[in-house]
């Protein structure tokens, strides 16, 4: 039960979680405080009314938190919204002068939660907020006409304005900081992606230049030789040279085939990750096993990132680990995760320079929206694990 709650609770975005907790805590402590003031000090009707309002808001907020594992981010957001709604209506009922503040309070949950909401939930939330704002303003007009005790309102304004201003300032600054951080990350990852792509192009150029091109050049030399031999009437030698040409040609075809597969394997494009990885595992110099659940096709970006990352991990294992077998794991439910695990000699990840193959792998996976971890220690084998956020329908995941 406890674990179930904690797991569900952790699925909610940390920032939303934090805000919900702060909100619940302040509502509950305000309720307790006001109850104490009312019981010990001046028994104003307004204080009693506000206390009741706060109590209701607290109950809704705490209830929303308790149901968070079931309802997720949407549930937490609506708990925030409803508690803000009760608070705003209640305050304005007690003191119509507070209506501008109540309107601001109503906007806060939306400001905090909008990055974590799906499109539909967002639409509903916006409508709810706008209707509530209008209703709050209308109610304030209605209540103001009844004529109220002026000093009480001044007092409530003096107390609540600074609080609301501080809360909104914190929220806005947090969002601002978050946007900045994300922009920095994007700039950095764009730079790295460009770097990695350049390196790949350079190595491709080298392979083409040293391999197929060299061979074709040498074939053109052989062709002139054949021409000479034929002119001279030495058909026996010419025939031998043509046989040689045929062999060189086959080698060039093979080299180009390997190169084409390295650029983008046809199997990956047509059959997806599992088929392409099975073929890669068969070609691997160290015996490799693919343990995969049937997997839906992913976006091309994700498939190629995962494929080339696993390929690189496989080659690293073959080159450096000394392992006698490697296992590739892949599953797509509830989210896409993969792992390349070997039983080899392992290494200390902090001792490896972060600009080589490992960085390239991480950059590719991150650029496709995932995360990559390398777990290893001398004598412990190595596990390269990648994961992508769950079923992607939220704007924040893009």
């Amino acid at each position: 039960m406890v674990t179930w709650f904690l797991t569900g609770w952790r699925r909610v975005e940390p920032r939303l979680r934090r805000f919900a907790l702060i909100n619940a805590t302040s509502l509950v402590s305000a309720t307790v405080l006001l109850t104490a003031i009312y019981l010990l000090g001046p028994r104003y009707t307004e204080i009693r009314q506000i206390t009741v309002v706060l109590l209701m808001a607290s109950v809704v907020m705490v209830g929303g938190l308790a149901l968070a594992p079931v309802l997720g981010a949407d549930g937490v957001t609506f708990a925030l919204l409803t508690s803000a709604l009760i608070f705003a209506f209640g305050c304005v009922w007690v003191s119509p002068w507070l209506s501008p503040l109540a309107v601001l309070v109503l906007l806060v949950p939306l400001i905090v939660a909008y990055p974590f909401l799906g499109r539909r939930t967002l639409t509903v939330a916006v409508v709810v907020v706008l209707v509530s704002v209008t209703a709050t303003a209308a109610m304030a007009e209605q209540r103001r006409m009844l004529g109220e005790d002026f000093p009480t309102h001044v007092l409530s304004l003096v107390v609540s304005v600074p609080v609301v201003v501080v809360v909104i300032m914190i929220v806005v600054r947090q969002n601002h900081q978050e946007l900045h951080d994300r922009a920095d990350q994007l700039r950095e990852s764009r730079r790295q992606v460009a770097q990695v792509a350049d390196a790949a192009r350079r190595s491709l150029e080298r392979d083409l230049h040293d391999g197929a091109q060299q061979r074709l050049v040498s074939m053109s030399v052989l062709i002139s030789r054949v021409r000479q031999l034929i002119d001279r009437g030495d058909l026996v030698q010419a025939r031998l040279a043509v046989d040689d040409l045929g062999e060189q040609n086959l080698l060039a075809i093979n080299e180009l085939r390997e190169l084409a597969r390295g650029i983008y394997p046809q199997l990956l494009a047509e059959r997806g990750l599992v088929a392409a990885l099975a073929a890669a595992a068969r070609r691997s110099t160290v015996p490799a096993t693919v343990r995969a659940e049937p997997l839906e096709r992913q976006s091309q970006e994700v498939e190629s990132a995962v494929y080339f990352c696993i390929l690189e991990a496989l080659q690293n294992a073959a080159k450096h680990s000394g392992a006698d077998q490697v296992e590739i794991r892949l599953h797509g439910d509830p989210r896409l995760e993969f792992a390349v695990i070997d039983t080899g000699r392992g290494f200390d990840p902090s001792s490896v320079e972060q600009d080589g193959g490992l960085l390239g792998m991480a950059v590719r996976i991150r650029a496709a929206g995932g995360e990559l971890r390398v777990e290893s220690a001398p004598g412990q084998g190595t596990a390269v694990r990648g994961s992508f956020p769950g079923p992607v329908d939220r704007p924040s995941a893009r």
Binding site: A275, A279, A281, Q325, A339, I341
Partner: protein, 238 residues
């Protein structure tokens, strides 16, 4: 002399198409009766031409993916007697397995560069037209070497000679052909095959056109087979 082989050629690359036609003109016993450049043309030509065998590129318009394999599947239904040889640039076994999934009778899977050896190409066309099977040696070779690299693989229980025989079986060769290649008697080949199929738990009495697929599937599985349970750390967690 036997009647000329009636061949339908499907290849979208103009150079290669003209080259193959020119090459086959040197053979009196092969008639190129129709030429197609995409999937639909191939299907129309097959319906029209009363051919013995089709030689088709794997990758043609409209989708440039695996038209050749799909054409072979379709032809199995509409013209069960017609042989199909698929030319491919991919040495991956996956496509070959698809080709023989519904039986390997009258099916061939060759790497494109094999057309350069015209004599061998014509021999393959004849074999496939007669209902035989031919899987490119480099495809089967890739599977066998992947399987043999595993220390725990069932292939390690085979003798080198048995591994040779299994490779030839997967390539589609008949017992007689294997016997001729290895310079042994038919009887010896049969004994090898019985021993192999027993060691690998394959049904020994499969008809020829089934045992090719069985051997290929077996080799394909053994190349990426699961290791014994518990041999890898961290099985329980991700």
């Amino acid at each position: 002399m036997t009647a000329p082989l009636r061949l339908v050629l499907a290849e979208d690359g103009e150079l290669l198409r003209a080259g193959i036609v020119a090459l086959l003109e040197g053979y009196d016993d092969v008639d190129v009766v129709a030429v197609a450049t995409d999937y639909d043309e191939l299907m129309a030509a097959v319906d029209r031409a009363e051919a013995d065998v089709v030689l088709t590129d794997i990758r043609m318009p409209p989708t440039l993916t695996d038209e050749g394999i799909r054409a072979a599947g379709h032809i199995r239904e509409t013209h069960p007697e017609l042989g199909v040889v698929v030319l491919t640039q991919y040495a991956d076994a996956e496509y070959a397995l698809d080709l023989v999934a519904a039986g390997s009778q009258g099916r061939g899977y060759l790497l494109k560069e094999r057309v350069a050896k015209a004599d061998e190409l014509v021999a393959v066309l004849r074999e496939v037209a007669a209902g035989g099977s031919v899987i490119d040696e480099s495809v089967v070779g890739g599977l066998v070497s992947a399987g043999s690299r595993r220390p725990d693989s069932a292939l390690s229980r085979l003798t080198p000679r048995e591994l040779d025989v299994l490779t030839h079986v997967a390539r589609g060769m008949s017992n007689q052909a294997i016997a001729a290649t290895l310079s042994v008697t038919d009887r010896a080949v049969e004994k090898h095959i019985n021993s192999i199929f027993a060691k690998l738990d394959l049904p020994a009495d499969s008809p020829l056109h089934r045992r090719v697929a069985a051997a290929l599937v077996y080799l394909n599985d053994v190349g990426t087979a699961e290791p014994p349970a518990g041999s890898m750390p961290g099985t329980a967690r991700w």
